[in-house]
């Protein structure tokens, strides 16, 4: 999150390419740091946009009855909130971090495909403009949930399907291009001497994630294409009348959807595995087992998709298979958590904001993992499925998991990006406000789900009223808390204490060997790894 002025100061020192100024600089840039900055700002704007929709949802659910929005608009809000958070906030934020940090971490001058990099970012705003614009059209935005189950999204859609499909296609292309770039960069541009098993774990998790993206984003593209032709061109992939099957939609969607879940959490593992050793001042425990655990999670993600569909009427053998495979994922995930705890064990710990977010990540992600294990048990899933218990589960994994790890990473590398130390005081405010409100927001949802409140409803029975009220209050508080981060980042860009090359005394890695802020071009001659 650097600005034009910051980097302009430094670029003259080392290079003499023709850098453009103003808007053109950002439009035409092929510099990985610039593109990383664009990605990060874009994802933060999307986070606020999707967050605003969450505020609408929570305001409607503040008390029973229909007061603020129509049920149909409520459905549009839940749908677009989900799409924006998944494809607009979390995934671009990770790509932004990858762009900024990967080349520096492996000692490369830039990404392997800089022009492609520019493209993969600049098509994103168009995708989300289309998606958001559809909300203001007469037909309304997509209202079938981010999982767009057929035939609600095909035969029975409100006319927004074409915009939705087009937007998802563009997001998918962007992700695929980003992923290709990450893979070839890691494969070809590592500094001499940096073997695969010497790569930072951060690099490993992005490497594996990129492979997942390449494998499943095309399947998503295929799925939405089928939805498009079913809706507008009379095919019958998911239409029983023409010999299709609506349940097949769910199988194909979740074949993409489950690896997608890990696309959003594996990079978080990488970030946290970088930060915890730095603030425990102790090497990461079990590096190689972390690599193996990440790989096995990635592999398992391909054979567990149907655990999202236990109630669709699967035969017993299928239910058992998917239950066992899903439970198995707890093993490598557990290994990771144990390794983080072992890294902290007998360390010499300090708790600056990045560490606070990382510690919160370990605890709250694990809680999300526990509820995930409960959901894996098929018989019990019949009670949990499509209730607020599930909503609680995936928000623990995605908000206090993925989002918190992104915050941790942002605080950790802000000095490197801006050249200034962020305000530790504001950072602590951000953390404590977030951690309290996020738990008020999501923890009661477990109880709502167990008591029987289905998800995606705009109105609810009276016994759920008290809990929903508190959840909404937590939601508003969490939403407001994120503005602290915005203030903090702007202040940090504008000024503050000068950051040394390596502001964290326990930090390791090539990125700390270049000055802060990182010069526009780094490692034009690759460093030697011993």
């Amino acid at each position: 999150m650097t600005t034009a002025t910051d980097t302009l100061d430094h670029h003259d020192d080392d290079h003499h390419d023709h850098k453009m100024t103003g808007i053109k600089r950002w439009l035409y840039t092929t510099n990985h740091k610039d593109i990383g900055t664009l990605y990060l700002w874009f994802s933060f704007i999307m986070l606020l946009t999707g967050g605003a929709m969450a505020m609408v949802i929570r305001a409607e659910l503040f008390q029973p009855g229909l007061q603020i929005v129509e049920p149909d608009f409520f459905n549009q809000m839940t749908t677009v909130h989900g799409l924006i958070m998944v494809f607009g906030a979390i995934m671009p934020a990770f790509t932004g971090l990858a762009n900024w940090m990967l080349p520096m971490m492996i000692g490369a001058p830039d990404m392997a495909l800089p022009r492609l990099n520019n493209w993969s970012f600049w098509i994103l705003p168009f995708a989300f403009s289309i998606l958001l614009a559809s909300l203001f059209m007469e037909s309304g935005g997509p209202n079938f949930g981010w999982t767009f189950y057929a035939p609600l999204s095909t035969t029975y859609s409100n006319g927004s399907t074409a915009f939705f499909v087009f937007a998802v296609h563009i997001m998918g292309i962007s992700s695929i291009m980003g992923a290709i770039n990450i893979v070839v960069t890691i494969m070809n541009l590592r500094a001499p001497g940096m073997t695969y098993m010497k790569m930072p774990l951060f690099v490993w998790t992005f490497f594996i994630t990129a492979y997942l993206l390449i494998a499943v984003m095309p399947v998503l593209a295929g799925t939405v294409t089928m939805v498009l032709t079913d809706t507008y061109f009379g095919t019958s992939f998911f239409n029983a009348a023409g010999g299709g099957d609506p349940v097949m939609f769910q199988h194909i969607f979740w074949f993409f959807g489950h690896p997608e879940v890990y696309i959003m959490i594996l990079p978080a593992f990488g970030i946290v595995s970088t930060i915890i050793p730095a603030f425990a001042r102790k090497q990461l425990f079990g590096y190689s087992s972390m690599v193996y655990a990440t790989s096995s999670i990635a592999f398992l993600s391909f054979i567990v998709w149907a655990h999202h569909m236990f109630t669709t009427g699967m035969p017993l053998a299928g239910e058992l298979f998917f239950m066992y495979c899903t439970m198995l994922i707890a093993v490598p995930t557990g290994v990771k958590v144990f390794n983080w705890v072992a890294t902290m064990w007998q360390g010499s710990m300090t708790f600056e904001t990045p560490m606070l977010f990382s510690v919160a990540f370990v605890i709250l992600f694990t809680i999300g993992g526990f509820s995930g294990l409960m959901l894996a048990m098929t018989p019990v899933d019949f009670q949990y499925h499509d209730t607020y218990f599930v909503v609680a589960h995936f928000h623990y994994v995605l908000v206090t998991g993925s989002l918190f790890s992104i915050y941790a990473g942002a605080y950790y590398w802000l000095p490197k990006w801006t050249g200034h130390m962020y305000s530790e005081k504001l950072g602590k405010w951000h953390f404590w406000c977030s951690i309290i409100s996020v738990n008020l927001l999501f923890f009661p949802m477990h109880f709502l789900g167990l008591a029987g409140m289905p998800r995606r409803i705009p109105d609810y029975a009276l016994q759920f009223a008290d809990f929903n009220k508190w959840v909404s209050i937590g939601g508003f508080a969490f939403g407001l808390s994120q503005l602290i981060f915005l203030v903090l980042v702007i202040k940090c860009i504008k000024g503050g204490e000068k950051a040394p090359a390596k502001p964290w005394d326990g930090a390791e890695g090539l990125e700390w060997e270049v000055p802060s802020p990182a010069p526009y071009h780094t490692f034009s001659t690759p460093p030697e790894i011993k």
Partner: protein, 184 residues
């Protein structure tokens, strides 16, 4: 793939990109290949009670008179299909391997000439692959002029290998009015 490797980095990158792009297209195609694969998957696991869409051959495995299987029939007309559609009986009892003939009555009452398609589903899904149809109106589209009616045939037997624990089958047909899509 270190710097001292024979090939220059650019060429390596190009090769890598080509491989990945091929993978992307292969996975896109795989997404569509999942459609026929799904049918195979259903066939093996009995997912969703999908039955075969083509005729089975006549049973040659004999009849197991020691077991009686109750086959229930459900007929439904989909929303907007102004057709009358009923089986001649609610249920029938058969021995595994025994051939049965059941008629379904359909009448077009939509006030226009139309085409309908019946979509079968068997429950429990596991039994779907044991439900053998020699002849079924669901294999074909059924055109009917306005107010015309027809008795549609279903000839079937339950495979002799039907798992022991299953003694009741439900066969559901949903009749869809596909006049518009049949035209195009």
């Amino acid at each position: 793939m270190d710097k001292d490797n024979a090939k220059p980095v650019d060429e390596q990158v190009k090769k890598g990109v080509t491989k990945l792009v091929v993978t992307v297209f292969a996975m896109f195609a795989f997404g569509f290949a999942l459609v026929p694969l799904y049918d195979v998957f259903c066939d093996i696991t009995g997912l969703n009670g999908k039955t075969a869409t083509t005729a089975a051959t006549v049973n040659a495995d004999g009849i197991d008179t020691s077991r009686i299987i109750k086959v229930q029939f459900i007929s439904r007309t989909a929303q907007g299909a102004a057709w009358q559609f009923t089986p001649e009986m609610n249920s029938i009892e058969v021995h595994p391997g025994e051939m049965k003939f059941v008629k379904f009555y359909a009448k077009n009452e939509s006030g226009r000439d139309g085409v309908a398609q019946a979509v079968p589903s068997v429950s429990p899904g596991l039994a779907a692959s044991y439900f053998q149809k020699i002849e079924c109106f669901c294999f074909n589209q059924q055109p009917l002029k306005s107010t015309e009616d027809v008795w549609m045939p279903l000839q079937f037997y339950v495979d002799i290998d039907l798992p022991e624990e299953i003694n009741e089958l439900t066969l559901s047909y949903t009749l869809y009015d596909i006049t518009d899509s049949a035209k195009s």
